[in-house]
């Protein structure tokens, strides 16, 4: 793999890591907002939405970190 490709891969992974962190943060906030809900349906909606956001954000961060690790190893 060429250096340019590795650098592009690292750049993409860094971007995904930042996006994942942002999305995960909002997932946590939505989960926290559950304490302000009144009905069961509202409670469940916040919980499902928060968990989906956390899963998407977490997935992006996990994939990005593993890619960065792999690409840095190749770079060395």
């Amino acid at each position: 793999m060429e250096t340019d490709e590795i650098n592009a891969g690292i750049k993409a992974a860094q971007i995904n890591n930042a996006l994942g962190f942002f999305i995960i943060t909002f997932g946590v906030i939505v989960l926290f907002a559950m304490i302000y809900t009144e009905t069961f349906v509202e409670h469940m909606t916040d919980m499902v939405a928060g968990l989906i956001l956390i899963s998407i954000g977490g997935g992006m961060m996990w994939k990005a970190k593993s890619n960065i690790k792999k690409l840095k190893a190749k770079q060395e």
Partner: protein
């Protein structure tokens, strides 16, 4: 006005967007990074960004309002009004733009026709985008004023500050990646709204039954195809000829802010895939946007202003937390529209006006600086002109009408330019000028020619048709281009296969 957790979420979202956008500064070292993201972005991010950029906050509210008033026929704009055009763009047009290493659509027109066509097309887009900026700043300010209670000027300056900073430093990478976040949040909030709205109205069948009993004005609410004499702005003839044949293609193929995103792709496969992925996502938009408007007919009947349907549904249906998140996504939608306009206008000015006419052959850092300074100047113009929008409530409609003036003729010359070798520089130039002039004429005398109130779909169709005919006629009478001049610019079936040499 929002309070508590929802207020906190909107503030956190705005600050988070700023920080996220500024983070992308580290990826901008050249003008290619600034305008085309270093040609390194993946298809999924570009596809999401295209969808978000197309369906901004004003459209989100507007489409729900139209669904409330006229029913599901407004969904045509996202189905037949987007998907076929996006597929055509993906397989035919995008590969030529991408392989040609182009930055702007007018750059293609310049190579295919001549410099005059490039300049006229570019100046028209710059004018349109610059006018639109003020409107979007005002709309953002009104939204912040209503949601947060901030004074209008503080709202305008904070919007300009946040969007301006991350677009200035992060360029198109910041624009696209902030769109990705917005997309995720908009989809999750949107599906939650649809699910809870259906629960509230007692299911789809129950809603259809209730709306059917509400009176004759709701008789056509579930007809996707409206008769030609409908009172709604969406008669089938306008949808087919004006929207599907002209405006949709002109928007997806000839709109700088859409196509520029595809040109940031890391390779040609990703460029094409971004449009195809975007078209798949587009099919869900009516569900997210149109259904809440429709369900509002049952939940909030008799609203004087249909555009209130979506905000009312969000406030009354969604739980705390998601209300803030959805309004944050609305605000982000407006920010996304502003940042797209800023970056695309800076690209058009730098590449189509500054580089050929003001300073040719300067080093790359110079053009990067020009792009950034143009962004700042546009920001100031947008802020300064935004109060004009408050004096003219119909200015948004007027600007959309202005867009219909040139979409038809530009699409006519793009279509003939790529598919017909015989079209000449004079054919293109005369089609563009006469076509735009004809669209203005039709709009001025619209009462004499059309029976519906807002005939923008018909105007774009007739101006396209005239532009097409003029281009063919003049081209047949003038000197044609040589084969060498046309290399890589006109359609060849080889573009559909993997081989990259044309």
């Amino acid at each position: 006005m929002l309070a508590g957790i929802d207020y906190f979420i909107v503030i956190a979202y705005i600050i988070g967007m700023l920080l996220l956008g500024l983070y992308f500064k580290k990826f901008v070292n050249s003008s290619e990074d600034y305008f085309l993201g270093g040609k390194s972005l993946p298809f999924w991010a570009i596809g999401m960004s295209i969808v978000v950029s197309d369906i901004g906050a004003l459209d989100f509210v507007g489409v729900s309002g139209q669904a409330y008033r006229y029913g599901i026929s407004v969904g045509n704009f996202d189905w037949v009004g987007s998907v076929p055009a996006m597929l055509l763009a993906a397989f035919i047009f995008i590969p030529y733009f991408w392989r040609g290493g182009m930055y702007t659509i007018p750059e293609y027109l310049g190579r295919r026709y001549n410099q005059k066509v490039r300049t006229i097309a570019s100046v028209t887009w710059i004018l349109f985008f610059a006018l639109d900026l003020g409107v979007l700043f005002w709309a953002s300010a009104v939204l912040l004023n209503v949601l947060m209670g901030w004074p209008i000027w503080i709202s305008i300056i904070s919007t300009a500050g946040v969007v301006g900073l991350y677009t200035y430093f992060g360029g198109i990478t910041a624009v696209i990646m902030t769109d990705v976040v917005q997309f995720v949040i908009m989809f999750i909030g949107g599906f939650a709204l649809v699910f809870l709205s259906l629960y509230e109205v007692g299911g789809w069948d129950n809603m259809v039954d209730k709306i059917a009993t509400m009176g004759p004005e709701y008789r056509n609410h579930f007809d996707i195809i409206q008769p030609q004499d409908t009172k709604s702005p969406f008669p089938w003839t306008g949808i087919l000829f004006g929207l599907t044949f002209v405006m949709a293609n002109a928007y997806m193929i000839g709109n700088q802010s859409i196509v520029q995103r595809c040109l940031t792709a890391k390779n040609e496969w990703h460029a094409k895939a971004s449009m195809i992925f975007g078209s798949a996502l587009k099919m869900f938009i009516p569900i997210l946007v149109l259904f809440p408007g429709l369900m509002a007919v049952v939940v909030h009947p008799g609203l004087a202003d249909g555009d209130q349907a979506l905000p009312m549904m969000i406030k009354s249906i969604l739980p705390p937390g998601l209300v803030g998140l959805m309004f944050a996504a609305f605000f982000a939608g407006l920010m996304s529209s502003v940042d797209s306009l800023l970056n695309s206008t800076a690209t058009l000015f730098t590449k189509d006006i500054y580089e050929p006419f003001i300073k040719k052959g300067a080093d790359d850092k110079h053009y990067l600086k020009v792009g950034q300074i143009t962004t700042l100047v546009l920001l100031v113009i947008g802020v300064a002109t935004s109060p004009i929008s408050s004096d003219f409530p119909g200015i948004y409609v007027a600007i959309q009408t202005f867009m219909s003036y040139f979409q038809g003729p530009i699409f006519a010359i793009l279509l003939l330019g790529i598919f017909w070798k015989r079209t000449t520089e004079w054919g293109g130039l005369s089609a563009l000028v006469i076509g735009i002039g004809f669209a203005i004429f039709l709009n001025v005398f619209k009462e004499r020619f059309f029976t519906i109130e807002d005939p923008f779909l018909y105007i774009s169709w007739w101006s396209f048709l005239l532009g097409f005919i003029i281009n063919v006629t003049v081209s047949l009478l003038t000197k044609k281009h040589t084969e060498e001049q046309l290399q890589g610019l006109v359609f060849s079936s080889k573009i559909l296969v993997k081989n990259k040499s044309l």
